[in-house]
């Protein structure tokens, strides 16, 4: 089995109030030095076989049309990472 990871993040220009709330909490926890926090989604996909070009193309298609919303989100597909 091969693990393929899809990370989905809000586009930089889309406001992320959850990230801002986390940043606010860091201040209350007494943590300094953090300028910004943005929250996203992390999908771990186990393929039956190898990460062949065809299998990866399928994951890309899944990431573009289902796991992310292209209006507000960007995604990155990486192989073998966790």
């Amino acid at each position: 089995m091969t693990r393929v990871v899809v990370d989905v993040m809000l586009k930089p220009e889309i406001l992320d109030p959850q990230g801002q709330a986390i940043l606010g909490a860091l201040g209350r926890l007494g943590k300094s030095g953090v300028a910004s926090v943005r929250q996203g989604k992390h999908f771990e996909i186990e393929l039956d076989g190898e990460a062949s070009p065809a299998a990866l193309a399928q994951v890309e298609e899944l990431a573009a049309n289902f796991l992310s919303n292209p209006v507000i989100e960007d995604f990155v597909v990486s192989v073998g990472a966790s």
Partner: protein
């Protein structure tokens, strides 16, 4: 002939019953549709109700958009079938790319539940033809992810083409861009609206009866067609 209007129930829909009731109150025949339906039972229009379809997993409306009945509704909407998406239904319409933009987390992260004043700006759509232009209505809004966002060029295009159907009056409850509460497609048959007209069809159960006109409008549009 009586017009029939379908209401889709997805797993997690909440407001399907009120939508069916509003359709009956408007003089049309309400028809329950199921998310797995393989045909639309001959309905003349469709309401996608509010709620939390598929538990709002992944993104609000993202999984509902791929349900079997939505394939039929998306194809029919492109042919002119009147479709109204309320709250979660609006999210489904955006996920299906029948309407531009997206609905994101409320700007203050709070779930907002209030009686909201709206201005009806487009009275040409299948769902708003019974309103007077710029009329003020009061209907409930209840959402956690109702902040309408779109790119600046998309927002400019929506405004230029008169496709903003309803706007929040006063402070927007969710931080929507340009105070947008509802939009329509170019043809005016597909409307997405964050607040809930189906919860305001009589003064016994709602803050007003202002919402009923969405449903009487579509009956009028169907009879004229």
């Amino acid at each position: 002939m009586t017009a029939s209007v379908g209401v889709v129930t997805f797993p997690g829909s909440l407001d399907d019953r009120d939508a069916l009731r509003a359709i009956a109150a408007a003089g049309a025949e309400p028809i329950s549709l199921w998310h797995k339906d393989a045909n639309l039972h001959g309905v003349d229009a469709v309401v996608l109700p509010g709620g939390f379809s598929y538990g709002d997993y992944l993104r609000c409306g993202a999984i509902a958009r791929f349900s079997p009945v939505m394939d039929l509704i998306i194809a029919a909407a492109r042919e002119g079938l009147p479709v109204l998406g309320i709250c979660n239904g609006f999210q489904v319409l955006c996920e299906a790319h029948l309407l531009p933009g997206a609905l994101t987390r409320n700007i203050d992260l709070h779930f907002q539940c209030v009686d909201q004043v709206l201005s009806i700006e487009n009275t040409e759509t299948a769902w708003t033809n019974g309103y007077a232009k710029d009329s003020r209505i009061v209907i409930p809004i209840k959402n956690g992810e109702g902040r309408f966002v779109a790119s600046e060029p998309t927002l400019d295009r929506l405004e230029a083409e008169g496709r903003v159907v309803a706007r929040y009056v006063g402070t927007s409850p969710n931080g929507s861009m340009r105070d947008i509460a509802g939009i329509t497609n170019k043809r005016g048959n597909v409307v997405g609206l964050m607040p809930h007209p189906e919860h305001a069809i009589d003064s016994l159960t709602g803050p007003s009866s202002d919402g009923l006109t969405f449903f009487t409008s579509v009956v009028k549009a169907l009879i004229a067609a």
